[in-house]
Point group: C4
Chain length 202, copies 4
């Protein structure tokens, strides 16, 4: 896909997420892989429901640094680029900031186990509701390199999850394409909302 | 109705369900009867809020097989065709995947009894809120023929319900026309949401 | 206001209520006063989010009967006309069918007292949040004349409320104009949703 | 910014808040600073989701009085002008009236402490989720000068909060620009909704 197509797909994703209330107050950030070296990432502090082609910049997958003079990427760039660097099959990373992700991340120690959901099959390689999706929850940290190291350490120990939560902060998930990753956001947000209700009603 | 009209009505239904969050992550599937032998069914894995005429194919009501070379129907085709085969008055079958259907199906053993709802009158033959709607809940099963046999056995024993739930998976309901069936989805989703709140607040 | 203007205002109200999920599955019905003798009422069974000028008919305020040959008004016409007959200042009656109204009506004996809400001031004659709005809850009844008699008896005893609930069935409210009555629906739906949460969290 | 630009920004804010259900039944009011002496404020009782340029008037920041003959500002004008008068950096004040703000304000004594939220960083000068946002809750009062004095006394004692709640009445927040203040409303509404769920599920 060309850069403009990828940007348009991310703009569209932002519109959808905004309509659901998953990207409040300029939170969240989106990215897509351009090639082996570069990714396209949302510029810091933009309204995610009204993104324009001007709200993206190119960053280095290796360093996480901006490749455009005088333009600052999101503070959390490293959380995107570490995934592109470690897994060539990843073409998109989406960070959303919904109420269920925020609340559950504060109520869960270590990892959230999603079990018994048909929608688990939204993820590649999952063929039955009997699979368990393990979603690690990391303590929030304003020191992003340190937080990225935590994420790397967890993946080294447990293997690649389908997504993870940051406490009081939201959800990260990824996929081969923007469309796949939007589907993963939908599936995880759905299961997180179910978990909230199961904890209350169950 | 002609095939194009039926497809358009299902496209419209998908748009509405998507706006309500009832068809997340390409879940759910929709069908309508074409004649005694054939039904129109959504192709597997499409976005149910953005269906086009290309996202449907014709299947055999008797076998559940695709009547179009090289196109795969949804995995759950048999759950649609068994209803058309057993009941000539059924013209549409809609499967949705909402949070309330998913959560309640996991909290209910055997069957859910919906009682005291004026909206029960949305179903043909129901003339008073004093009727009880019995919604069976089946264990989820990736073996669709086996699951279809469970559904058949239940109907043989108890008669035709207005709809049923699959655990962690969602709702099936049906009607004479697409419009009637959309109304049945709305009525059941409404009563399921009420049940969730009644269990919590009541 | 002319009949077409009143019908347009009710069509618009239906679109808004549908967007909020307050008129599911062709439930609910709307009316507006034409003059001392006649009111305009929604035809039975129409989709309240997609009303057209054809979905209304004129009924007699005195008898509740249709004034148009061969067209049937909603089963609940009498619940509208009794209000026009008893109170000349009433120009519009709206019946909605939301989840909070349905759930709270099933959990409340006799009457619901709404206290401490600034939004109580949405109703004429209410100038402070310290007022209590008493919302009677009537048992649901398919015998509408009998239910209408219950409503009349309550009003004779307690005076005119700002609205009432029917158990498992929904909300009735009214006002001088369609705009005023839409505002009353919004205010009551808001307070009912607050009450649900107060009962759960409080 | 010119008056028309400010009015347009407030009209747009109202549309967004209405889509979220945060300004029911003509509740809420919005304002923006024109200069050192004057602010633009919504006229009393207008539908906040359908504001037009005609729904605003100019008021004196010093007195809170209307500067337009025969046009009445909102009853709560003083709660806006006191903020412009005390803090030159404030360019916009938004009052919303959501369910979570209404319910939490009734369940909280004194002040609500928002802790552990990444979204706290939506406010100027907040650089970490470890900060605590203290949101005072004032008893509702139809005597606005008396209520404004309460607000002033609290700020004198504790310093400027990022916003405050009035019991059973809603949220006030402010910022340098309309865009900033809309972001503050989004961030506070998000955290209030999280708090409701944390109290229920946690």
């Amino acid at each position: 896909m060309m850069q403009t197509e990828l940007a348009n797909a991310l703009v569209e994703a932002g519109r959808f997420f905004f309509s659901r209330g998953w990207v409040p107050a300029t939170s969240s950030n989106f990215s897509a892989r351009l090639d082996d070296e570069r990714a396209l990432l949302t510029v810091s502090g933009r309204h995610k429901g009204r993104l324009s082609s001007d709200d993206f910049l190119r960053v280095s997958i290796e360093s996480g640094f901006s490749l455009e003079v005088g333009r600052r990427p999101s503070a959390e760039t490293l959380l995107h680029t570490q995934l592109y660097a470690r897994e060539p099959a990843i073409g998109c990373v989406l960070h959303t900031h919904s109420m269920p992700a925020t609340v559950l991340s504060r109520l869960t120690e270590g990892a959230l186990a999603l079990e018994g959901y048909e929608l688990a099959k939204a993820f590649p390689g999952v063929s039955t509701h009997e699979s368990t999706l393990t979603i690690p929850v990391f303590a929030n940290d304003q020191d992003i390199p340190r937080l990225a190291a935590e994420v790397d350490a967890w993946i080294n120990r447990h293997g690649m999850p389908v997504g993870y939560l940051i406490e009081g902060h939201g959800l990260y998930t990824w996929g081969a394409t923007v469309d796949d990753t939007v589907r993963h956001v939908e599936a995880l947000e759905f299961m997180l909302e179910c978990e909230l209700w199961l904890r209350r009603v169950g």
